[in-house]
């Protein structure tokens, strides 16, 4: 691979929408068609970085270079269906998790480590998405085994069928305990699962009535969580006629799931939410863009297909998506770790991420993390700054696991100046306005009167300056 440094790449192309493109952004046919590179929309480092931020947790230099030579669609092939033995990797980690300390704190650390080392980062990215969609908080569940099984459920379905995922969720002990739905007596129907099912997991408010919730609750009667296991007690099931969303019958839990999945609102909710996760959260998605995807998703609820359509699309590689999301804390931290090719203490990282608002296994409410601008205030920005510092300073709780100078040297840099250009490409794909780039590069050399001239320290300081830029907080 050719080293490409000190040349801002993709700067103008990626930011200013070509007039012809701007017009097409709201045309669903064009928007969801596969992106093909052309003179107006070249495949470059900025686009490769964008893809790796959304479909993974950031990229190493080799991955970026490989993507440049593979082109967009082949890179997406690899992200969607990696060649590696994913099964072996994940069962090894399942093993570590179950033989671990048996606390949710331990599970948080294993998950972050899995995110860093997995050959299939998109799978973890989507597992994180579902953890926020079907949010379950360990402080209420108080059972690490159940929390582990719950995240495993999310992972095993995260790129498969939403229908199966929803069914698994409706019978998952951790979810039911978290929602206070572990008891569903015939005489006392419990609405604690039926309500979030309709309000949060599928239809969204405005698409069901109180009566629908009450009737659905009757269909869930008979289901109990006893000693951490799901049990069905037939005599506690209400077999009477129920009216749910315009249908009537002696419905069971499976019928309720079928009925909510038949409602167009369910596919709309999910497509919109995934749109915010993968494409853009700065603007409300145009209904015209959502409609065709929702229609097709409602037919088979195939998550992989939906994700694939989004990632391969013209829209995904357009200015309407580029840097149109704020990195969640996990993306922020791993966006520093991944490119620097090191593995850090994820026990410490899990704790630090909790401090900036994303405590894995402990989402704040059933609605998960709201995210977006809500991640950010001046206090969390200070904490992001200090977390980046802790990761990069070469000592302290994270030790010397990340060494930007060593990474730069490995990829052909021999001076702190060339390393600085390299790091701008690695972290921001060089996409920074020229005067800002100029201001930063002035700090890439130790001053002439400096007592130490060790490039490693200068490069660490430079790397820290790059990842604390406002731009780096955009995904």
């Amino acid at each position: 691979m050719v080293l490409q440094i000190d040349k801002p790449q993709g700067h103008n192309e990626s930011k200013k929408a070509h007039p012809a493109i701007a017009e097409k952004l709201t045309d669903p046919v064009w928007a969801w068609r596969e992106y093909q590179t052309d003179a107006q929309r070249p495949w470059n480092l900025a686009q490769a970085g964008h893809l790796y931020r959304r479909a993974a947790f950031g990229a190493t230099w080799d991955q970026l270079q490989q993507a440049l030579s593979d082109g967009p669609q082949r890179t997406i092939d690899k992200l969607m269906r990696p060649q590696a033995d994913i099964g072996a990797f994940n069962s090894a980690y399942d093993e570590y998790e179950s033989s671990g300390t048996g606390s949710a704190e331990g599970l948080r650390a294993w998950w972050l480590r899995r995110m860093i080392l997995t050959p299939h980062p998109l799978l973890e990215k989507m597992t994180l998405f579902w953890h926020s969609h079907f949010a379950t908080n360990s402080s209420k569940v108080k059972n690490a085994r159940l929390m582990r099984q719950y995240v495993q459920l999310l992972r095993s379905h995260s790129l498969n069928s939403f229908q199966s995922l929803l069914k698994g969720i409706s019978r998952d002990p951790a979810v039911l305990i978290y929602l206070g739905a572990e008891t569903n007596r015939k005489a006392l129907p419990n609405e604690n699962f039926a309500r979030p099912l309709m309000e949060v997991f599928t239809l969204g408010s405005g698409h069901y009535t109180e009566k629908d919730v009450q009737e659905a609750a009757k269909a869930f009667t008979g289901l109990f969580v006893l000693r951490g296991r799901l049990r069905y007690i037939p005599r506690e099931h209400d077999g009477n006629l129920k009216h749910i969303l315009g249908q009537k019958g002696d419905f069971t839990d499976d019928d309720v799931l079928r009925i909510v999945l038949e409602q167009p609102a369910t596919a709309w909710t999910l497509v919109r939410k995934l749109y915010c996760w993968l494409i853009c959260e700065t603007d409300e998605p145009n209904a015209k863009l959502i409609a065709p995807l929702a229609k097709s998703f409602a037919k088979d609820y195939d998550i992989l297909k939906l994700v694939e359509t989004m990632l391969r699309s013209n829209l995904f590689f357009s200015p309407a998506a580029y840097r149109r999301r704020i990195k969640c804390p996990v993306e922020f931290a791993l966006g520093i770790v991944k490119p620097l090719e090191g593995v850090i203490s994820t026990t410490q990282l899990a704790q630090d991420l909790a401090g900036i608002g994303q405590n894995l296994y402990y989402p704040p409410t059933v609605k998960g993390w709201t995210g977006g601008r809500h991640w950010i205030n001046s206090a969390t920005m200070v904490e992001r700054h200090n977390l980046a510092l802790a990761l990069l300073q070469g000592s302290g709780p994270y030790g010397n696991k990340l060494n930007p100078w060593a990474v730069a040297k490995k990829h052909g840099c021999s001076t702190s100046e060339s390393a600085a250009g390299f790091l701008l490409d690695l972290f921001l794909q060089g996409d920074l306005e020229p005067d800002i780039r100029g201001a930063l590069l002035k700090t890439a050399v130790a001053p002439a009167d400096a007592s130490d001239t060790i490039p490693a320290d200068t490069v660490r300081r430079f790397a820290h300056a790059v990842v604390t830029l406002p731009e780096f907080n955009l995904a």
């Binding site: 001046s378 700054h385 930063l440």
Partner: protein, 418 residues
Amino acid sequence: MDYTRRDFLKTTLGSSTLLSFASATPHFLVSSLMGAAARRDEHDTVLVVIQLSGGNDGLNTVVPYGDDEYGRNRPTLRLPTKELHKINSMMGFHPRMGAFARLYKQGYLSVVQGVGYPNSDRSHEGAMRIWHTADPDSPGRQTGWIGRAADSVWNPNTTNAPAIFIGPIAQPFALNAENVVVPSIRSLQDLTTSQIPGYPKDQSQRKRASELPRADKGNSWLDFLQRSTLNAYTNSQRIEAVTKASANTAEYPSFQLAATFRTIAQLIRADIGIRIFFMEFGGGGIGGFDNHANQLGNHCALLHQLSESVAAFVDDLRRDKLLDRVLLMTFSEFGRTVKENGRRGTGHGAAAPVFLAGGKLKGGLIGPRPSLTDLDNGAPKFHTDFRRVYATVLDHWLGFDSRAVLGRQFESLNVLNV
């Protein structure tokens, strides 16, 4: 709602002005902050909430010594009348709460008596959850009242954190918000940006990279992130400047609790937009106020620390003319039983007093003294719903809308001079 004078001040002073001069001339910055402090409007008030974990024995805190039932029910725990700090012929503060008695006389402390809610929950977890959610009727409520207050004042232009938790334990549920991130800190360091040691010139150059204007490419979120970054640096430097300028000038006792109060006082001085501070005393978990056996000595130590630390905080703020902006309130998940339990301790109770401290109080004892004979399962009955206290501080002190937080309008208490 807080995109007002504070942001105006920031704009006129200019973030970069603060960035370039702050560390060199902390006094300039501090005096400009003090100047600003003199021109406060009502929206710059601060609420400090302190949680007393474990269930504080209200009867041995504000002691009804004039009621024979008190001594009769407490053969070993009754406090000697002559050592109490008398409020009137019926009530007196615990012997080790001399500082509270002084604040009370000065008008900086009020006692709201008999605060609780119907069908008192006697488990620590259940009762604490109720005080945190402010929703006794919904045990599954997923947000805390301060978290909801923070969400209610959020707007897309805000870059300040409206509420914060300070302490070494996990963030109490009261601060759990649906949307906003409510930070938890242990010390001022957590709100101050650190640098890898290097050359000052380079550091300011790097900051310049964050400060330089970005061309508007129709992405308002980049502008938002830039403002947040600059605000983070500005707030960090305000904290550093205030810390340098007022290091160790105020006297605080050497308790951990007092150190936390000192930190809060520094953050109030730094004026970084935090409206609600939440702190905890008693050690998390079930908490040190839970005295089922040998209560006397332990309770004594806790009340002494509380009283001395609050007084140091009040005196510190008063010296800097900041006390009028600050209101402190205590709460505990429940009070305790009137009768002691045979092990020189008390059982879980119901209603208890809430203390308010600050510069804008009407003072005095608020509400009637709960009876020691007409009881709720052996404990004093409540007459003032705790959500009335919350509504009072939200509506009349912070200028928030309590209905957005509490779901309905609770009648406020006539305790504030505002």
